[in-house]
C-alpha cells in the first residue's frame, strides 16, 4: 500500500511540481522557502501509509500550502521580499520569438504584474485552476473553503485581470 502511495505521489509531483512550487511561493514570497515547503510537505507525505480519501492532488496541494504557511510563520521576521511566481522577462520565448511585437511583450508583463498583485488566495486559485487544472471542488479542499466560494473568487480574479489589462492597454 505504501509503495503504491509513493508511486502516486511521485507521479503527482512530476505533473504538478511547477504549480506546487508556485502555490508555496505565493505564500512564502521567497523561492528558497517555497522549495523547503514543498520538500517538507513531501517528506511528511512519505510517512503516510494510507492514501487520503478523496482527491490526492487536493491533499498534496493542501499539504504544500500548509507547509508553506508554517515556513512563513517560522521566518516571519525575515519576510521582506515578495518574488513573482513567474519567470523573469525573456523566458517566455514562445511568445517573444513567434510574434515578437513590443505590444505583446508589454501585455505579457502587464498580465504577470496584475496576477502578482492579486491577493494571496486568488493567486493560489488561479495557479491551481489554470496551471494544474484542478476542479473547484479540489481547490476548495485545498483552501478549506466552499467550492462555490472558490469559483466566485476565481471569476472575480479573472475579471480583475481583464480590467487591469484593458487599463494598461
Amino acid at each position: 500500500m505504501e509503495s503504491v502511495l509513493r508511486t502516486k505521489l511521485e507521479q503527482l509531483y512530476r505533473k504538478h511540481r511547477q504549480s506546487l512550487f508556485s502555490v508555496a511561493l505565493t505564500v512564502t514570497g521567497c523561492s528558497s522557502m517555497a522549495e523547503d515547503a514543498v520538500h517538507e510537505a513531501f517528506a511528511r507525505l512519505c510517512q503516510k501509509s494510507e492514501p487520503p480519501e478523496g482527491s490526492l492532488a487536493s491533499y498534496v496541494f493542501a499539504a504544500v500550502r500548509n507547509a508553506a504557511i508554517d515556513c512563513r510563520r517560522r521566518q516571519q521576521h525575515q519576510r521582506s521580499i515578495t518574488e513573482s511566481i513567474f519567470a523573469s522577462a525573456g523566458s517566455d520565448s514562445h511568445l517573444s520569438n513567434s510574434s515578437a511585437t513590443a505590444n505583446q511583450n508589454d501585455e505579457t508583463e502587464s498580465l504577470k504584474s496584475a496576477i502578482d498583485q492579486l491577493d494571496e488566495l486568488s493567486r493560489q486559485i488561479v495557479v491551481m485552476k489554470i496551471f494544474s487544472e484542478l476542479t473547484f471542488e479540489e481547490i476548495a479542499g485545498v483552501l478549506e473553503i466552499p467550492s462555490a466560494t472558490a469559483a466566485t473568487r476565481y471569476r472575480r480574479a479573472i475579471m480583475k485581470l481583464e480590467e487591469e489589462l484593458r487599463r494598461s492597454s
Partner: protein, 194 residues
C-alpha cells in the same frame, strides 16, 4: 477557457531549483527501501527463552535427532569448555608467578613496591595519599576468580541445555564432560547420571 485564461496559461511560471527534484525524489525513494531494523540487545543474544529448538530437524550420523537450536547450544558448550579449560591453567600460572614475586603471601599494597632509582639502587617508596591502596588480601586462592568467570560463561549453554531437555524430552549428553576437571562445577546443571 477564455482568451485571457489561455494567455495566462502561456506564461512561464518560475521554476524551482533542480535540487528540489532531487530532494523530493530522494525522499520518496528513501522511504521505499525498508531499512533493516536493529535488533534489540535482548534479541541478539541467544538465551534459553528465545532459542527456537523446534525450527529444523536434522539427523546426524549416530541417528540422534537434533535441532538447529541444539547446534547453537553445542557450539556454546564447546566454546565454554575450551575457555573453561584454559582459564584455570592461566590462573594457576598467574598464581605461580604471583607466588614467586610475592613469596610471603602478604597483601600487595599499591605504591609500596620497591622501585629502581635513577642510579640503579633500590630504595623503598613510601605510600602517598594519592596512591590507591588495597585494604585486604585479594588472593582468594588459585582458581576462585577463574571459577566465577567460568560460571558466568557457563550460564548460557547450560541453561540452553536444560531448555533443550525440556523441549525434546531427551537426556543431555554429558559424556564429553565427564573427564572435565570442572565437571563437578557444572554437574548441577546437568541431569544426574545423564
Amino acid at each position: 477557457m477564455s482568451e485571457l485564461e489561455l494567455k495566462i496559461r502561456a506564461l512561464s511560471l518560475r521554476k524551482p531549483d533542480h535540487s528540489l527534484d532531487d530532494r523530493i525524489l530522494a525522499a520518496l525513494r528513501q522511504s521505499d527501501v525498508t531499512e533493516p531494523t536493529e535488533l534489540a540487545p535482548a534479541e541478539k543474544s541467544i538465551t534459553p527463552d528465545n532459542v527456537d529448538f523446534s525450527t529444523t530437524l536434522h539427523t546426524n550420523r549416530r541417528g540422534t535427532v537434533v535441532t538447529s537450536g541444539w547446534i547453537v547450544a553445542s557450539v556454546s558448550l564447546l566454546i565454554g569448555t575450551v575457555v573453561g579449560n584454559a582459564l584455570p591453567s592461566i590462573s594457576s600460572l598467574q598464581a605461580q608467578r604471583d607466588t614467586s614475586m610475592n613469596p610471603d603471601q602478604t597483601a600487595r599494597i599499591a605504591g609500596s613496591e620497591h622501585r629502581d632509582s635513577a642510579n640503579g639502587s633500590v630504595e623503598p617508596r613510601v605510600s602517598e595519599p594519592g596512591d590507591s591502596t588495597l585494604t585486604g588480601n585479594i588472593r582468594l586462592g588459585s582458581g576462585s576468580v577463574a571459577s566465577q568467570i567460568v560460571e558466568s560463561i557457563w550460564i548460557s549453554p547450560t541453561a540452553a541445555a536444560v531448555a533443550w531437555e525440556q523441549q525434546t524430552g531427551q537426556i543431555f549428553n554429558v559424556v564429553n564432560h565427564v573427564s572435565d576437571r570442572r565437571f563437578d562445577m557444572c554437574r548441577e546443571c546437568h541431569r544426574v547420571g545423564g
